[in-house]
């Protein structure tokens, strides 16, 4: 009976401890992310760029496809950036307001990046997780397919597709969707291989959960951390990819535009002295990419279990 007292006390203490909520992986990651100054700055810039792309058009004084014939070809001396005329970023060689066009270009470039990343997240994760979880011959065939697709010079095939089937944003999205998920599939598979021998998956198998449910409910949520990191780092790659295609004149077509198309026009007019045609789109291009790089690095430090 003498021992009962300390035992009861200890039980009480243990009970109290259980009340304290453990920190989840995500809360932990959030705390680490918010300690990272560069990542926070990147996030702020990113929000700014998104706001600019979404609402920047509201303060534009001109429509993006409005051509001011009096300024056409005369933008070097009459179309420089000024608040007074309402052409905040100046006028391009065809007499169009560069501010309105930069807003739209930013919007399309962001869209391209995000669509590419989304395809990668959905297709790549599911594909990789399935291959890794099922394993064996299925895994072998699925990953060899990825290897084969990766060895195809996609830039060349995409140029071919755009020339053959016409240049449209849809075609561009298809092309980007075709390549963006390959790396993600490999990463997801690698992670799944380590996950599938964990106790919780074993428990799920033992209780008779179907493989599909295990993949969706137990494997994929545990992949999310690394998937988010690589998706963030994939967005700038896709934006660069699109700008390259647009540079060749095969990407987004007039009157629509993207940052790549605007920069390409800007570089062609550099001798003309209208450097604003290059520098405003280039500025938004660079800060968007930097922001994604920094946020991605911050997320990696916060979420990647390897770097702890």
């Amino acid at each position: 009976m003498k021992l009962a007292q300390p035992d009861a006390k200890m039980l009480q203490e243990v009970g109290d401890l259980a009340e304290v909520r453990g920190r989840s992986l995500w809360a932990d990651a959030r705390a680490r992310f918010f300690r990272n100054k560069a990542a926070l700055a990147g996030l702020a810039v990113l929000i700014g760029v998104c706001l600019f792309a979404a609402f920047g058009g509201l303060i534009a004084q001109y429509e993006r496809d409005f051509v001011d014939f009096s300024l056409m070809g005369a933008n070097a001396y009459q179309g420089s950036p000024s608040i007074a005329t309402g052409h905040y970023f100046g006028v391009d060689i065809d007499g169009r307001d560069l501010y309105a066009r930069t807003v739209q270009g930013t919007r399309i470039s962001l869209l391209v990046g995000i669509v590419g990343a989304l395809v990668a997240v959905v297709v790549g994760t599911l594909y990789g997780a399935t291959a890794g979880y099922i394993g064996g011959r299925v895994d072998n065939i699925m990953m060899r397919t990825v290897d084969v697709l990766m060895s195809i010079p996609f830039m060349f095939v995409l140029i071919l597709m755009l020339v053959i089937f016409g240049r449209s944003i849809l075609m561009l999205f298809i092309g980007i969707g075709l390549i963006s998920w390959l790396d993600m599939a490999r990463i997801a598979r690698g992670q799944t291989l380590t996950l599938k021998n964990k106790e919780f998956v074993e428990a799920a198998v033992a209780t008779g959960v179907t493989p599909l449910t295990i993949i969706l409910r137990h494997v994929v949520p545990n992949l999310l951390g690394i998937v988010i990191v690589y998706a963030t780092l994939l967005v700038p790659q896709m934006i660069i990819f699109e700008s390259f295609i647009s540079y060749l004149g095969l990407g987004v077509q007039e009157p629509n535009t993207s940052l790549g198309a605007l920069m390409s026009l800007g570089t062609k007019q550099m001798n003309n002295g209208t450097l604003w045609m290059l520098f405003y789109p280039l500025f938004f291009f660079l800060i968007t990419l930097f922001a994604f790089f920094f946020v991605g690095d911050g997320l990696r430090d916060a979420l990647d279990p390897k770097d702890r």
């Binding site: 195809i152 010079p153 140029i159 071919l160 020339v163 053959i164 540079y247 920069m263 570089t267 062609k268």
Partner: protein
Amino acid sequence: MLAYIVRRLAVAIPTILILVVISFVLMYAAPGGPFNSERPVPPEVMANLEAKYGLDQPMWRQMVTYVWDVVTRFDFGPSFQYTDRTVNDVIAQGFPVTLTYGMWSAVVAMVVGVSLGVAAAVRQNSVLDYMAVGITIGAQALPNFVMAPILVLIFTLWLGWLPGGGWNGGQWEYVIMPVIALSTSYMASIARITRSSMLEVLNSNFIRTARAKGLPMRRVILRHALKPALLPVLSYLGPAMVGMITGSVVVDIIFSTGGIGQFFVNSAFNRDYAVIMGITLLVGVLTISFNLIVDILYAWIDPKIRY
């Protein structure tokens, strides 16, 4: 090791065949042919032309004939656009150019990137490190089609030091700017990879041992740390080489160097199927070979890899 190489080669051959099928189907599905022009050609002439180039055959037969010719005689067929030349001529003219500045770019990217990465890692968190990281992030974000015209603006128009384009048999003045434009972003990636892997290696036990037995820092870095730190760089080289060949499209257009990139874009716009196929196949084979070589080297150097 030999079994590994054979296995990899066994995967490479179907890959090339798939590439052939994809590009063939794409071109077959294309509306309009190489002989469609504003002036309509009489139907008899058209039929003759199509018979000459084998376009009147069913698709599978065209494909089989093509593959047969390539494999047995290394013959990519005649060009549709340049009537007096074969695809082999076009490739023979363009490929050495691309190869020259591609190889120089690879060397520059490797040497500068690795030195920058090692210097940044050895002096971690110094001004040098921050500068190196800043340069690499900037260089990764700046597209080469923006950088190339800026180079031309500075070195050709303002300073007048270098010619703004052309090839001229590969004289060094003509090679410098294409190489800078092509290598910068890969240099940046290599520097970043080297820096992070070097940091990892420098913190490992065998480096501490080497330091503890009194070796000078320079010797520790060059003899002990560099080799393991370069392994991740090696695996990046395959994709980088491929990216440089793709990047030649931009370099060729801006500097008019006349490599295969220029021929590819021209042929794509002119529907010159034969040249497109030839170049796509060439790039595909190069891609596969580079990846193969890098993987074999990797397996050979890194004892931890089981193949």
